[in-house]
């Protein structure tokens, strides 16, 4: 049994109500595909002996691109698939790819965006290929596209929304989930910083939390 067959066996056991379809490759080292449909949510998982697991929650615009996210081990992909099936989450491609998709969805060309930001088109092209994007750059680009950035730090205890200062006066809100579990020390520290008005430090902490635990959503 290969790795994706093991993943299917795991999902068969954990989600008996899910519809699972495994497609085998024509060639020995080709890609296997596992489609998982549960409660209207569709996950596409790709694996081959020479590549990592890829996972995507496809939408109507998904076409001919590689996966949104990659995971090396069976344990990692199991964990991520569990998160995606249980929570109301979607996969997220690299930020640069997400920016390009947002720009296209807004009907704006690289040239038009460059003009709005007062930079050269090559800068936008470079930005949309960068593996890491500064938060300040992200904000400028999203504002130029007509939106704002929201970063959520998600924990078992709740979800923390860090509002974009240019959208909502720098106020940091906390959105509580229904969970009654205890807050971690990081969250308590975050709450304390926020209540003292130390927004910059709170943002820095949230950034560290984000790197360790959360997802970025562009809305």
């Amino acid at each position: 049994m290969n790795k994706i067959q093991k993943l299917k066996a795991h999902l068969d056991l954990e989600y008996p109500e899910a519809k699972l379809e495994l497609s085998a490759p024509a060639h020995k080292d080709g890609a296997w595909w596992l489609d998982v449909v549960l409660n209207g949510k569709h996950l596409v998982i790709e694996w081959s002996p020479s590549t990592k697991f890829g996972v995507t929650t496809p939408n109507s615009n998904s076409f001919a691109e590689n996966a949104d996210e990659a995971y090396s081990s069976l344990a990692e992909i199991k964990k991520r698939v569990d998160q995606l099936l249980v929570n109301d989450e979607r996969t997220s491609p690299p930020v640069a790819v997400l920016l390009a998709r947002l720009r296209e969805r807004r009907g704006i060309t690289q040239k038009q965006l460059a003009s709005k930001l007062g930079v050269r088109q090559a800068s936008i092209s470079g930005l949309e290929r960068r593996e890491d994007v500064q938060l300040s750059t992200l904000r400028k680009v999203v504002h130029a596209l007509g939106g704002c950035v929201q970063i959520y730090a998600r924990f078992p205890e709740g979800r923390f929304a860090l509002e974009d200062p240019l959208c909502k006066s720098g106020v940091v809100d906390i959105e509580d989930d229904d969970s009654e579990g205890p807050l971690s020390s990081e969250i308590e520290a975050f709450v304390q910083l926020k209540s003292c008005g130390k927004i910059e430090q709170a943002l820095n902490l949230a950034d560290r939390i984000k790197k360790n635990h959360s997802v970025i959503e562009l809305v």
Binding site: S23, A24, T51, S62, F63, P93, V97, E128
Partner: protein, 141 residues
């Protein structure tokens, strides 16, 4: 993405019908490369097929993504959210994973991917129901 995809499909429709699987496949590859070079803003990565995560550019189906099927006259390739099938007669079909057909081009002999599959079933099981009738027009479904 929609605009780039629409451009690819439009150019394919204009270039069709194709006489062979190889002609259909190489034409799709050439057209997609041209459109992406012009519109995606992402340079082609020659190693993209061995990478898992998207770089924002559309790539044509590769051998690594070919699916195992019973049909000898159709080769089907899977990508994240769709399947592309090429017939030995040059027919092309692109289907989303929900089963929606988004492009259905007939080969030069007037037969579609469906026709080829039905013929394959009939060959494997001569008593099976089904016909190998052909239609005359192709295009986006």
């Amino acid at each position: 993405m929609r605009e780039r995809l629409a451009r690819v499909f439009e150019a394919l429709r204009e270039a069709s019908p194709f006489a062979s699987l190889d002609e259909a496949r190489t034409t799709l590859e050439r057209i997609m490369r041209q459109v992406e070079d012009e519109l995606s803003g992402v340079p082609e990565d020659p190693d993209a097929d061995t990478k898992t995560v998207s770089d924002g550019r559309m790539y044509p189906p590769t051998d690594r993504r070919e699916l195992k099927t019973d049909c000898r006259s159709v080769r089907t390739f899977r990508q994240t959210a769709h399947r592309t099938s090429f017939g030995i007669n040059g027919a092309i079909r692109v289907e989303r994973i929900d089963g929606t057909t988004v492009l259905d081009l007939f080969g030069k002999d007037g037969r579609s991917i469906d026709d080829l599959r039905r013929e394959n079933v009939n060959e494997q099981n001569p008593k099976a129901e089904g016909t190998s009738g052909s239609r005359v027009s192709g295009g986006e479904a």
